[in-house]
């Protein structure tokens, strides 16, 4: 009886060691397991989403509505189906929609692709502007936009076409580059 009594600490010690080995094995991240299957694997997908962004002043800066939003963690890109972006700048609304879009990391750049249509509210005394192309890149924070594909613009009855465009909404300037062609309507109200 005394022998078993002397064995008791050894048994307890053995149990303790076994348990810690078992616990250590359990919590060890298995290095051998393969990394996330591939970089294109989304970590989350959202359907029928509306994302609203605010500036530091608490004002709404943009709203992005999309049928489907897929986030790819490896490159921190977000792919959006049927995106519609609403941007407000100095009280003038700019809306852009397209077949698809890609939001870069930090949302400082958005690429719109496929049937891109943008509409900008009229400035006081001016006319609203529309833009059509197959591609448009927007930098929301800088209020800049650019495309290197053929585009068509209208402003009121004036139309313009070119092979590329750079727009800076802060300064209200727009550069059309490459075979630019503008048609200004005949003067309204003149006697015919």
């Amino acid at each position: 009886m005394r022998a078993s009594y002397r064995l008791y600490p050894l048994i307890a010690l053995g149990l303790l060691a076994g348990a810690s080995i078992w616990l250590e094995r359990l919590s060890r991240v298995d290095e051998t397991r393969p990394a996330a299957v591939s970089s294109d694997t989304p970590d989350f997908i959202a359907e029928n989403t509306r994302i609203v962004g605010f500036g530091q002043d608490g004002e709404q800066r943009y709203a992005l509505v999309a049928n489907r939003l897929t986030h790819l963690p490896a490159s921190d890109r977000t792919m959006v189906d049927a995106p519609r972006l609403e941007l407000d700048n100095q009280g003038r609304r700019l809306t852009i929609h397209a077949t698809s879009g890609e939001v870069a990391s930090g949302a400082e750049r958005v690429d719109f692709r496929g049937d891109v249509v943008a509409w900008r509210a009229a400035a006081p005394g001016g006319a609203e502007m529309t833009f059509r192309s197959e591609h448009l890149t927007v930098w929301p924070d800088d209020h800049r936009a650019e495309t290197q594909q053929a585009l068509k613009l209208t402003q009121g009855a004036t139309t313009a076409e070119a092979l590329g465009m750079r727009a800076d909404n802060l300064f209200g300037t727009l550069d059309l580059v490459g075979q630019a062609r503008v048609q200004i309507p005949r003067r309204q109200g003149s006697k015919s």
Binding site: R187, Q188, S192
Partner: protein, 155 residues
């Protein structure tokens, strides 16, 4: 030609800068403006657009070349051709003002001077040595005009 003013204005160029605030379009590179029979060419054209459409256009050329304009005369197949370092076209007044090395030809008539103003409604032109402009050395700054005698059969 009178009908020109009711035609849309077509402008082609290598590049256009639209200044939304100031309602100015700046065209650069092989610029051609067309409105009916009126055609203005230059390396650069600045168009100010009024609320009711095209307003004024200022065409210039670079590298010593001249901006040019051409327009058919009312009820005629003849054209008025003009060129100068700077051409200002006012679609409201339907006047073309040509500055520096200005030269206008219409049929057999021809005038040269520092400043020529061509009124496309009355089809008259006024040619002067604009005050303040430096006289053209080659012609001693004088105005030169060649006006063809009108034949008996001409109205």
């Amino acid at each position: 030609e009178r009908a020109d003013r009711d035609k849309p204005v077509d402008i082609e160029a290598n590049r256009v800068t639209v200044d939304d605030r100031n309602k100015v379009h700046i065209f650069e590179g092989d610029v051609v403006l067309t409105q009916g029979t009126l055609m203005i060419k230059g390396d650069k054209l600045v168009v100010t657009q009024g609320a009711d459409g095209f307003q004024t256009g200022v065409a210039t050329a670079s590298g010593g070349r001249l901006a040019s304009f051409r327009q058919r005369r009312e009820g005629s197949t003849e054209y008025v051709d003009g060129e100068a370092e700077r051409i200002e076209y006012d679609s409201r007044a339907e006047k073309a003002r040509l500055f520096n090395r200005a030269h206008v030809r219409s049929g057999g008539d021809e005038v040269r001077g520092h400043y020529i103003e061509y009124d496309s409604v009355s089809e008259n032109y006024l040619v002067t040595n604009a005050p303040g402009s430096t006289p053209e050395s080659s012609t001693g700054g004088r105005v030169r005009a060649t006006i063809q005698p009108k034949g008996d059969n001409k109205p």
